[in-house]
Subunit: 264 residues, 2 copies
Amino acid sequence: MSGMSDKEDEKKSTKKDEAEIVEENGLVYVDYVGRTKEDGEIFDLTLEDVAKEEGIYNDEESYKPMLVAIGKNWLLPALEEELVGMEVGESKTVEVPPEDAAGPRDPDKIKLVSKRQLQKQGVSPRKGARVEVGRQKGIITNVLGRRVRVDFNSPLAGKTLVFDVTVKGIVSGEIDKINAVIKRRIPGLPEDKYDARIEGGTVFIELPKESRYIENVQYAEIGIARDTLKVIEEAEEVKIVITYERPEELKEEKETQEDEENEE
Amino acid sequence: MSGMSDKEDEKKSTKKDEAEIVEENGLVYVDYVGRTKEDGEIFDLTLEDVAKEEGIYNDEESYKPMLVAIGKNWLLPALEEELVGMEVGESKTVEVPPEDAAGPRDPDKIKLVSKRQLQKQGVSPRKGARVEVGRQKGIITNVLGRRVRVDFNSPLAGKTLVFDVTVKGIVSGEIDKINAVIKRRIPGLPEDKYDARIEGGTVFIELPKESRYIENVQYAEIGIARDTLKVIEEAEEVKIVITYERPEELKEEKETQEDEENEE
């Protein structure tokens, strides 16, 4: 990943490196703050200091630059397109109209629901409460006698979004791309613990046996394979390999048995 | 696995095949019923019909011949030793004294516990109730005023065990051995879905990507690797490999992008 360290920027300051311009199908790290245009409310962001300033910091979130494969819908496509041609370190404000974001607000998605139905679920029917009815999420907009009005539109429906986005780095080598994808899916695993190589159309990813103890690692593997096939376009398949060496105690057992056999 | 089908037995009936005698370090399937000598109570068994006859059938158990690597303590070592030299189809009654089974009964493991302590855990202090105190499992043997006497010995401590054991089959090929080990750890995965091969000191085990959706499959893999290193003594390492081919929808995406690039 280039451009993340100041030193590297200095070294290359005289000549613009090709890898410092975001390409179509590129893999980049970005920081962003997403706000609604209407009222400036932040709905998503990667910057810890902004989250704290605005009083929306959540200590269960991890605030760090987000990995984005351009054109793969890891962000809104309209936002990804705008990144192409940007330089590392460059910032931009991108406005995304509702039709390219959460879609228009659909009046048919505003429905009347009986209070009794919500009370059965243990939800008290008051304005602003979030509810789930028939697997659809909504928000109560009005309380009317025995019923409430629920808006099942996405909270961002009908809204123009404004992103302040900064390109933090470009991942350019194939192996670096695979490593970035692994890091995205298993952030807790130190980088020196895994290894990737490409042989013909096959990407081999070696994960350490310690990775077996990471919760849901088998689903992370599915994601790693899928992401790898997206960012390495010439790859036909991904093989995830976990190696288990013979442990010391089984080596001893083996030797003991061989000794016993020799004695017979 | 030989000896499981009657046809095979008929074919080989004239001459005793080597693979029909259980060897040291062999891998075999056995059926058994384990009883305490004292009162004939069954504490473990693999036979569904016996379980039903004796009224101890449990529909959460899977009754089927058990895979045993001789000398690896998958059963009591004293019982495993007795299997060596037996023929496929042969049955035997094996008596195991307490010192080779659950050990002697230790009077120091009988302790007084306050009723209040048990009641805090929601256990009613009555004779015969199973309790757990400080991670040790025990059984209440007496109720005395404010306290109860709890025996923390294993229920089989001090008891001689009697096993009726039958050798159901011998797994003789290396690949068959690995397949048997996989089946033991992931019984739900059809045999034609996985594959094993040996190259030098490395055993390669290919699991299908569908296996990722099996609960706790990552722990099953640790077990498969460990068991394989036990039954394949010349193996230095086991590599578990899961292959993810490029899915159809990503193939289309790739072609579309290439087309777009060509048009430019």
